[in-house]
Amino acid sequence: MSNSLIFDIKRYAINDGPGIRLTIFFKGCPLSCVWCHNPESISPQTQKMYSKQKCIGAQKCIEVCPNDALQLTPDGVITDWDKCAVCGKCAEVCPTKAIEISGEQMDINQLLKTIESESLFFDQSGGGVTFSGGEPLMHYKTLLELLEKCGQRHIHRVVDTSLFSRSEIVKQVAEKTELFLVDLKHMDDEKHKKYTGVSNQLILKNIQLLSDLGSDFWIRIPLIEGINADEENIKASAEFLSKLKWPSKLVNLLPYHDIGKNKHLKLGSTYDGEGMHEPSAELIERCIQIFKNNGIEAIVGG
């Protein structure tokens, strides 16, 4: 049975597809978007997160650390990353959960049990399970098995993906998925590379593939003023999408905010929000209009 590294399971998720859902977040992502709200989702390894606000200086972590990697300073507990083996002993003893380990190996049975525990909410709301990440397609073996078993249980399946994956995998997943949530971050390949670390060619090709397969999907655009919310990019996105056939013809606009900042602090990574701004209401309205002109419904949120 395959295991996967999961960094979060969200119950009563209402922004990840239709109805009330349970969202499973796989850890690890081939993209590294500069605005990423969940930076702990990027690395495919377990990571240690530390919250200074929660730390009360109990120092139990320092006592138990086998590698002597921790030190209490006026800035809280500091980790010597060269020594830290991310063994998690510190998190176990932390009374306030100021230290937490992000990422837990879970097997399919555990995940299925969790999914099924919410089935009544799915039934009442037309909801189901959403596989998100990170990038769920990076865990395609587990994902395919889960999709298969959820299908047998009549659970509605959504896969939230960047589609940065081999088309063969996308095809297999599409056979077992009712709805995809697909990120479309930038139409300009150079900018896409600059802000996400990868080219958009494969992504655009796979969107076309989903359309050709007759799969349904919602396009999600993180709307960031200063990055991709300009008229040129939105128009290009709308024109690209308008040529596709797909049942929903729906775009979710996700206005940028900088709550990810706090998570970067916890991971000990840096966050450069320079040049990224929350889009104004007028700008959002303009974007909605552009999509409408191209025969596509765009709504805020998902």
Partner: protein, 817 residues
């Protein structure tokens, strides 16, 4: 005859009240038209005041007549005297008429039950919260005319003179409260019969029953005769009260220059001459009929939760439909009349208690709870056009009273639920949401017939009853976490150092969790027995000294039994004990089981010592508890199993204890605001809760203990078989920003459907954001309209004390919305 007209309605713009929800801030004034806007403005701006008129009339009457009549007849004549002499109020703009006091928001006192002292009156007049104004002149009159007569004669003195020491010790420790020491048993709700029968019809039935009395073979026949005579007098009194309104309306009409108003006044007179003497013929008359019956019952005595029309939309629908078809009533006219009624209820703040301190005091809310939607007596969907009109009025007026609830069965259309959710989104704190599919089962389990169960519903906060046929008395709250506290101190209340329970052993000597739990259950049974014993005694006191003949007229089967509402007259007679703090006690037991008896994280002495010093210097221990213990409300089997055990043992301790009417006590899981008071009388608890902080409310998880979102809360709660209780209570709080879109509303309604499909009884929502609440604390004047819902009722945030305010802020925010 004393008459009095209202002063001119204040000229201030309604919007200056500060409607805090931005989406509505640019709207027109609350209220559908200028009449309703003015009436609403008056009710919002008028400060509650004390009226001594009722006490003066009553004292005079008792001095003259006590001893001359049987008690029921004395009570009925006393009510008649009040109806004859009290000031009649008929204000500008009014269509529905009648006030309990001399003017809107004037509240009478009930010295026969409990007599306010001069000091009480001063406190009420000057305290910051829930103030009731009274003039020095009235205080002097009260001191001279009222207080001397009632000294030693009040119901409260009768009760407290006869309670055992053990009861007093437990009561003073705050192990439970007693509802009936200051107010009469209430929570009464009416069914549909007053829309088919006038009081003259009731009088005819009373006469038939008198004819049928068998003085040869029935030893109670004379008592029944007195009771029936009293009921008959009380009908006359209510008809007279209405006629005096007709007289005044005609008098005012004669002087009125405005032709439109003159016609309205003459119409009012016509309505008041017809109802309540006769069965109503029109929508207007039906509302006025109810209102006179309501006023009668709250003038006769001060029963808890005032009076309640129950399924008012279902009762009014036939009138609305008939007149709509005939073209004699437009939808707007119906809405205007109902708006007038809504404002009337808001004109009636709860009667204030005596010896009151702000910390015990709750609210102006007198808990009339209009049931909207639900099912009919035949089990069909009860939603009709009047239901939708009511939802519009709630959203439109957003005043404190009446409370309202939507009743969502599996047959209820989504349209109604979604419209209800849209009103919930406004954040006025109501409507709350009930599940008839479950509460009908609760009533059936208690032995009601299917028809009576379907006609039942919820009154006050969340308690269920068979409307129009049942006396279901809430007898008081049980402080379940305090029972554990006393157990952990071997019978002593650690807050006072006094003995409050029985000795069940020093917990440091316990070798297993089972041993500890057994001690807790023993303590629980002892406390419940104390409570039941005194409750039964008080019930008898009411039956003997404070019967309610008028209330008895409108509740089946008081007339056919010839017995009073308080004496087993109703078809069903139930006593509830309301258990508070399931979350706190479950989490505390979970800490002891998990850390002391299983994981050995710390021993019993360590935790008890930390608790005794309120976790001072033990923050690491406290945080370990808070972050590393299975708590209730997370769909965690470990904690939920403990909750199930406590619930089962509460049921065993309470359910089936006999009451004085040959029936029994039942479990209820309501808290209203009592969890705040209960927290005040407690030290710290093993779950990391600090001394004095409120305990968990109803069946909700402890504040901050539920970290897995609302679906996990719902799953934990529905592991309890909620049909075994006469009500459970779940508070969920959502941020308004997360309920903006239609699909958000849809998902809220689906969450409700899910909870109900799993067996939930009730859920209510606080739709507020923390920033608003902090701002409201800083600038109370800017947030006069800020209504929040807490544990079974709505209140103005500004009227809450700092503890209640903090509690609202502290509640877990459901970030996922």
């Amino acid at each position: 005859m004393n008459t009095k007209q209202s002063s001119i309605a204040p000229q201030r713009d309604a919007n200056s009240e500060g409607n805090y929800y931005s989406e509505k801030s640019n709207r027109s004034k609350p209220g559908m038209n200028e009449r309703i806007q003015r009436l609403r403005q008056l009710t919002v701006d008028t400060e509650p005041s004390l009226s001594i008129e009722r006490a003066l009339i009553e004292t005079e009457f008792y001095k003259e007549n006590y001893g001359k009549y049987s008690i029921p007849v004395l009570r009925a004549l006393n009510y008649l005297e009040i109806c004859k002499k009290k000031t009649i109020y008929l204000g500008d703009d009014e269509l529905i008429v009648g006030e309990r006091g001399e003017k809107p928001k004037a509240v009478p006192t009930f010295p026969e039950l409990t007599c306010h002292s001069v000091e009480d009156l001063h406190v009420l007049n000057t305290r910051d919260l829930q103030r009731y104004t009274i003039s020095q002149e009235d205080i002097d009159t009260y001191e001279r005319e009222v207080i001397p007569y009632w000294q030693g004669r009040t119901q409260r003195e009768r009760i407290f003179n006869h309670v055992p020491e053990e009861w007093k010790a437990a009561y003073e420790a705050g192990l439970f409260t007693e509802f009936m020491e200051q107010r009469a048993p209430g929570h009464t709700t009416l069914d549909g019969k007053i829309y088919q029968m006038g009081l003259n019809d009731f009088k005819a039935r009373i006469a038939e029953e008198i004819d049928r009395l068998d003085f040869m073979n029935d030893i109670e026949a004379t008592d029944k005769l007195e009771q029936l005579k009293a009921m008959d007098i009380s009908c006359d009194a209510t008809i007279l009260f209405a006629a005096r309104h007709a007289d005044l309306a005609e008098e005012l009409a004669a002087k009125e220059n405005n032709e439109k108003r003159k016609a309205e006044l003459l119409k009012i007179a016509e309505v008041c001459r017809w109802v309540p003497a006769n069965a109503p013929r029109t929508f207007w008359e039906a509302i006025q009929m109810y209102w006179f019956v309501h006023l009668g019952t709250v003038t006769e005595l001060n029963g808890w939760d005032a009076m309640n029309p129950g399924h008012f939309d279902q009762h009014l629908a036939p009138f609305f439909e008939k007149e709509s078809a005939e073209g004699t009533l437009t939808r707007d006219e119906a809405k205007e009349l109902l708006s007038c009624f809504w404002i009337k209820v808001n004109n009636h703040p709860a009667p204030p208690k005596v010896g009151i301190t702000a910390r015990e005091s709750g609210t102006y809310n007198d808990f009339t709870n209009i049931n909207i939607g639900g099912v009919t007596a035949n089990g069909l969907d009860g939603v009709n056009e009047v239901s939708y009109i009511m939802l519009e009025i709630i959203e439109d007026l957003h005043i404190l009273q009446p409370g309202s609830s939507i009743h969502v069965s599996s047959k209820t259309p989504d349209r109604f639920l979604k419209e209800g959710c849209k009103v919930i989104r406004q954040g006025h704190g109501y409507p709350s949401v009930f599940n008839p599919d479950i509460y009908i089962q609760e009533l059936l389990r208690q032995g009601k017939s299917l028809k009576d169960a379907r006609e039942g519903g919820c009154s006050g906060c969340i308690e269920v009853g068979a409307f129009g046929k049942e006396a279901y008395l809430l007898t008081g709250y049980l402080n379940v976490p305090k029972i554990l506290e006393v157990t952990l101190n071997n019978g002593i209340d650690p807050v006072t150092g006094k003995k409050a329970g029985i000795e069940t052993g020093d917990p440091r000597d316990f070798t297993s969790y089972e041993e500890l739990y057994e001690a807790f259950v023993k303590q629980l049974n002892f406390v419940v027995d104390q409570k039941v014993r005194v409750s039964n005694y008080i019930d008898q006191m009411f039956a003997k000294y404070a019967p309610a003949p008028f209330l008895s007229v409108v509740i089946d089967d008081c007339i056919s039994k010839g017995k009073d509402y308080y004496n087993g007259g109703p078809r069903y007679n139930t006593n509830y004990i309301q258990c508070t703090g399931l979350g706190t006690v479950t989490d505390s037991l979970s800490v002891l089981k998990h850390h002391v008896f299983e994981k050995n994280t710390f021993n019993m002495d360590k935790i008890l010592t930390a608790v005794a010093k309120d976790f001072e210097g033990e923050e690491i221990l406290r945080q370990t508890i808070l972050n590393n213990t299975p708590f209730f409300g997370n769909d965690d089997p470990y904690a939920d199993t403990i909750a199930l055990g406590v619930y089962a043992d509460l049921l065993t301790a309470i359910d089936g204890k006999p009451n004085t009417k040959g029936e029994q006590f039942y479990l209820n899981m309501l808290s209203t605001t009592c969890h705040v008071y209960f927290g005040k009388v407690m030290g710290a608890t093993p779950n990391g809760r600090l001394a004095g902080k409120s305990i968990s409310d109803g069946t909700s998880p402890s504040h901050g203990a539920d970290t897995h979102g609302p679906s996990a809360v719902v799953k934990s709660l529905t592991k309890l078989d909620q049909t075994m209780s006469g009500g459970t209570l779940l508070n969920l709080r959502f941020l308004p920003s997360l309920l903006k879109r239609d699909q958000d509303i849809a998902k809220l309604s689906q969450l409700i459907r899910s909870y109900f499909a799993l067996g939930g009884h009730h859920v209510q929502f606080n739709i507020v954001d923390t920033a608003t609440l902090y701002a409201a604390q800083q600038n109370p004047d800017d947030y006069k309209d800020l209504l929040v819902r807490m544990a079974g009722y709505s209140d103005y945030f500004n009227d809450m004390n700092a503890d209640l305010q903090q509690e609202v802020i502290d509640r877990t925010e459901n970030e996922s919305f």
